[in-house]
Structures are given as structure tokens and as C-alpha cells.
Symmetry: C2
Subunit: 469 residues, 2 copies
Amino acid sequence: MQTLKISNKLVKYAFIAMFGLIAIHSNAQVKKDSIQIRRIFDMALEDGKAYENLRTLCKGVGHRISGSAAADSAVNWGYNLLKSMWVDTVYKIPITVPCWSRGNIELATIYHDDTRLNITALGGSVGTNGLLKAKVVMAYGLEDLELLGEKAIKGKIVFLNKPFDAKTINGFEAYGACVSQRYNGASKAAEYGAVGVIVRSMTHKHDNNPHTGGMGYTDENNKIPAVAISTEHADMLSQRLKDMPDLEIGLRLNCKTLPDKQSYNVVAEIRGKSKNASIITVGGHLDSWDIGEGAHDDGAGIVHSIEVLRMIRANGYRPKHTVRVVLFMNEENGNRGGKGYAQWVKDRGEKHLMALESDAGGHTPRGFSISASDSLYQIISSYRSILEPYGCHVFKPSGGGGVDINPLKLDSALTINPNMILLGFLPDSQRYFDFHHAKTDVFENVHKRELEMGAASIGSMVYLIDKYF
Amino acid sequence: MQTLKISNKLVKYAFIAMFGLIAIHSNAQVKKDSIQIRRIFDMALEDGKAYENLRTLCKGVGHRISGSAAADSAVNWGYNLLKSMWVDTVYKIPITVPCWSRGNIELATIYHDDTRLNITALGGSVGTNGLLKAKVVMAYGLEDLELLGEKAIKGKIVFLNKPFDAKTINGFEAYGACVSQRYNGASKAAEYGAVGVIVRSMTHKHDNNPHTGGMGYTDENNKIPAVAISTEHADMLSQRLKDMPDLEIGLRLNCKTLPDKQSYNVVAEIRGKSKNASIITVGGHLDSWDIGEGAHDDGAGIVHSIEVLRMIRANGYRPKHTVRVVLFMNEENGNRGGKGYAQWVKDRGEKHLMALESDAGGHTPRGFSISASDSLYQIISSYRSILEPYGCHVFKPSGGGGVDINPLKLDSALTINPNMILLGFLPDSQRYFDFHHAKTDVFENVHKRELEMGAASIGSMVYLIDKYF
């Protein structure tokens, strides 16, 4: 009898679900944990330091691309701040980082009427070596290039104009569907003989700020310049091309890649009290693009992580496991910090329980992405109800936790624990790409309480996993 | 055996929960509904009119306090917009509204050094009739007045300085804990002989914008002027009083109450196809305070509601029940629109199934407050999973749905269906009181996608309740 079978199954699942939860989280435990988590939120919201720390990073250091003097200042900022917090240890892990300079010339004009376009070089682009003047062919993303073919593309600038899909609810998903045209556009277009690419900025927002971001070349001998254009000017250019398909654009860039430099991941720890202490890594990335102030990306993640350590110390709480904050260098254009850290962990044979990354901005918390086995996912899911009053209880199964921490688990050459838990902090995603990699990613566009709630959400998750694993 | 009892109970609840859900929402239904709800979000996000409607309301009409010429313009704006949408019927319900004028003089200075304070009259306050000069006594909310007593208060201006609690997660709860000092401060202080009140602005934000809002007098013969002060100046004044307890403040206001005026609720309907069609009311309030542009409060609720009607029409969907949008007048200082509408419904003996109000701003949707019987609450709760992909799935049991719709159910003299469902739309609350009743509540501070998501969330809930009731 199908009906009976179904109901038996349902009963079984109900038992597993309910007794699973009860086993993990008894009423007494829930009550105790609720008090601790309430304290974490109180500390973050009433006496929080995240917002003031973000102010000094954004206003004192500013943007800080890998290999720049500002990135060195950011390393010192992080090291000195962590030193001042009287945690157990603070140190730097040396890494070698790529170094790219935007230069001081970024000009794009529609040639016949001298209309200036709001563009900015993509990070890693070659310069134009003087004036690059060419006709333009528009493509709706990389998919179009093959259709257009060499005949339409050769000798031209390719304008990759696939927009964010307005219908996509999550900003990161909209980004994921478009970002290949930014990262791979120059290489793919060069295969068809293009002389440059102009890429629509990665944002839902309709405004006049170009958004930079990483790109890479696959062919060392065929590197063409690549720029991002603001969404408003992308729409204007698209319209102009309808009226005048032969219009020419003049492009001047003097950006260039310089030799690699020495830099650092900055690390601070509170050591775990357990004899079998593993490591819990919490981090964001210290570098940023060289536009704006790297406030949401990823100043927010940096001050979230530092705040977690501060709250553990202020609360007089000694964790079971070692809580280690890592301020990763070079997330934006190389991930040398993330890979370097995983290598360093492997070289030392360190046991890692969990790593959590905050690199999705400083907006209101919604929850966490979780990369863990089914059984561990179930255990972590049992914390949802205790986090619900704070609105950070949406958990999503995921393949990873973030660019910086993924190598710890997902890079087979580096990992020493393929079963570790990776978490990604998930704030509300509606506004993130308004600012991402643009000059508007400044301190003033981060909301104090939303930032503080993020720090408390991450702190709560670290508390729970430290306690129950 | 306690253990066995518990497990039996758990099994019972598990059955109720699971089969309850299945009864309401079969897999086939969920699939069909998911498609409809996806369409609603697509319509709102891809071709939405909410944002442009908000622009014309904020920029074309501006702020629109009850009884003002601007409020008349807002009535025309709403009526003409709804008329243009080819719904079944559009009409106006006359109501009489109070009329208060801010005047053109709002000055407060610390007398001895002429420091100008950022203040604004509270709505409904009497003027000062020239210069009001007095010493100041600070109170930490109304609770302090009795402790201070007549001796400390008589002849002075009472400075009510209870701040929003930073630790309170939900902005509306923080507001709820403080707003009595704004609404009742003048009356309570006058009982002890105060000559005026200065009330700390109702916001978590630390800035220099005073936030106005409603207040009332209980004693017709003892009305004293009342103003709001910005949070930064509240902190400054508090510090100055420590240094110089005898400082005097000079206050000049020429605000006044004028005779009542005629105004309107604006109504539009799409009639239900069912023979037993009830009414589903969806609304926000058309009036605003006379500062800023009433963008979040409550332009957002107005354009949310209008968008619901537009989407039903655009989708070619004929609801079972009559969906009626009401643009309520006079929510801010009298609730004549809400009460007048309930009276009008009662006079006509209309069957009401549900009313939903959007008056909590245009930020990212989080969910709904629900005032319904336990069994109806359970049914509505079964929609959570279908709304989860859109993030509007946090449901909170509540005593009401909003100031405008509550009289339909909660005013015993007016209600004809004490079992009707009241829903309140709940967007994220972290930023709402940054703008609430202040000059910063302007169109530019509403985020396009967040506003559109709100309209879609409300539209989805209307769709589900219309379909399943």
C-alpha cells in the first residue's frame, strides 16, 4: 500500500529530524546558547568596534590593490589593530603577489562626436600603447562571439553587453551568469581577431559608474586591452551603434603589469582550551580594487572577522578550538593569499575543523552558505531556530565558502581535510553590486547596524560550531 | 513513561504538521503556484511600475500632510493613475480630516551662546505665541517625570531623551519602546507644570535630522509646545546640561491647528469571479508628514498596493475574490481614513476575507505579520516554503496588520468580521527609522529592486490567499 509506505517513511523522517535536533540541542542547551548569542549581538550592537574599524581602514588606508603601498599600509593597519587586542598571537604569513598598475590615462571616446564614455580598465589589462582606434561590434555575452565569427570581429573592439538579469533574485547569481564576459572576454574576442573589449559593468544598477574587476589572458602572445563601461553608457553605446553601425571608438590606457611583490596574510589567534583543539579560520580579504575604498568588498569582511575575535576576548570566553582570524591578501587578482594559506596549513599539518569567509558585503544578515557532508549539514541546520530572532537563519547548501578559504578543502593538492566545514556569510544581496568594484564602494555606503549585525551573526555561528564540534 | 509520552506527542505533531501541509498544498499545487509566483516576481522586477510611480508621487506631489493642497494633489495623482489602469472601478470615499500647519518659524537656541538646535515641531503641537524662554530639565523618558516631580519640572522645558535601544534588533520594536515620549510627552509634562517639551528623535541613527511625528493633548486647557530634536543635538544638549544645568532655551514656533477639511480615501477594484466573492483589501497611506517626500512612509506602501493591481491585470488573472486597493488618507495624524473605511465597509455590509497593509517602508522583504486564528495561521504558514526563494517567508503572529486596516477587525464598533485575516508587510527594518518622518525620506533613499521585491511579495500573498480561501 503506497499510502502506508509513504506515511511510514514520513514518520521515520520525522523521528530522525526531531530526535536529531533534540540530541544536538536540548532545551537547556538552547536556553544557554540563546543567552550567549544574545550577548554576542549586544556586544556588537551596543559597544561594537566594527564600524569604527571600517572607518579607519577606508579613510586611513583607502583602496589597497595587491602590491601597492596602500596594501602594505593595510597589512600594517591589520597587524597593529590585532596586536592591540591582546589576543594570544599575531603574525604575518609572507606571500608573493601580482602587481598591476592602472596608470593615469583611461580614456574612451566615440570618435566622430567626441562623446566621452565612462570606462575603467579591467584589472590585469594591458594598455593601448598610444591611441587604439577601431570600429565596434556588439555581442550579447561570450555566447555571441562564435555566431559573429572572425569576419565580424577581426580588427574591431568587441562590446560585450550582456546585462544582469533583473529577474534573478540573488545578486550573486546574476553576477555569476555574466561575469565570464568580464573575465574571459578579452581572450575569447582575441581568438577572433578583436583589438580590444569593452564590457558592460557587473551591476543591476543603472548609473554612470564603471565597475572594474579581474580578467585573465589565455594566450600570452595575444593580449588585447579590456575595459568596463558604466551601464548607462553601455545602453547609450548600444543605441548609437543602432544609429551608426560604423562608429569608431578611440581608447587610451596606460595600465600595465609590474613584477610580483612580497606581501602578507595577517593572522591572529585565540587558542582553544581543548587538548584536541582544531582550527576554526574566520576571514575576509584585505586587498581591494584600486577604486573606491573597498568598503563592502571586503572591508566589511575584514572588520567582521576582527570583531569576532574582539567579542570572544571581551566576553571572557575561552573557545574549545583555536579561533584564528586571517586577513587574506590578493583575493581580487590572484588568490595568492588563499592558496598560500592552505599551503601553509598543509605544511604544518594543522587540523582544521571549519573555515568561514565574509566576502559578500556588509548588508543585513540573511544566513550562511554551508559546504559540509549531509550529516554535518543537518547538525548545523539545527541552529536555525536559535538564529531566527536575528534574521540570519537561511542556510544554503553550497560547493564552497569563498575564494580565500576554498583551497583548504577543495584544492586536492592542498587540502588535508576534505571533510572540513566551509561556511560563507550571506548578507542581503540586493545592494552589493551597486557598489562592487566601483568608486561608490566607500565607507558612507555601509550601514552601521547592518555591519554590526553581520559581525554578530558570524560570531554566533563560530560560537555554536566551536561548542558542538 | 515520560520518554514514550513525549515521543507519542511528537509523532502526533509530526503527523498534524506534515499532513496539514499536504492537505493544503499538494505537490502539483505547489508547482503551479511556484510558476505563478515566479511570474509575479518577473513582472515586478522586469517591467515593474512601482519605482516610476514612486518617483512621480515623490517628485510630482512631494510631501502631503492631511488637509494640505499637496494631499489634494496626491488624491488626484492616485485617482488618475488607477483610472489609467483599466481596472473594474475606481472611486473616492469622502472623509473629513484634521488639518495642522507647521507655519514658517521653527527656532530653538541655547540662549546664552546662541547655539541653534536642529528641531522641528511635532505634528499637532501648538505654537509658542512669540518667544518661549525657559530652563530645561532632562528626563529619560516618561517614566522619569514622576520621579522628578512638579518641583523640578514646573516652569521648565522638559527634554525627553530616552534613546532607541541599540540592542533591539527590530527597528519597529525600538520605536515602540520610545514613541510614548513623543506622543504623550507634552500632556504628561504639562501635568507637572512644564511649559514645553523637546523630544529626542525616534531613530537609531546618529545625525542632525529632527524626526517629526504625531502627538496628542489630553487636556484641552493645558497645551504646551512640543518639538523633536536631532539625535546629535540631543546628545549635545545632554552634555551642555551637565556642564550648565541652568541653561535656558529660547523656542519659537508658529504652527497651529486649522479647521477640519474634506479629503478622500482612493479606491480601485478588480472584481472577483466567485459567486461568493469576499473582499481582499490591500493598502497603504497616501498622506505623509510635511517633511521630506513621504517616500518610505508611505509612498512605498502606496506604490506596492497599486502594483499588485497592475500585475493582476497584466497577468490576465481573474481573482476569485474582489481585490481592492485602498489609498488611505490621514494615517499619520488621525486615522480618519482607516476608521472611515471600516465604517463604510460596515455600512455596506461587505464580506471581508483579508486586509493587507504595507506601511513599514520599501526595503528588502522579510515576511509578514499575521493576525488570524490559529487554524488560519497554520494554513497561511504552509505558504512559507513557496515564498522562501524570494526571502519573504518570515511569518510573525501579530495583534494587527497596520493602523489603517486594524479598525476592520479590531474596532468592536466597526468590525463585521472579527475572524478576518489581517496581514502586515514586513520589510527589513534596519534602515527605516533612518528616514522616518525626516527630510531624508525622499525617493533617492528607496532602492528600486527592494521596492519591486516588496510589491511582488505582497502580490504573491494576495494570489495565494485569494486562491486558497
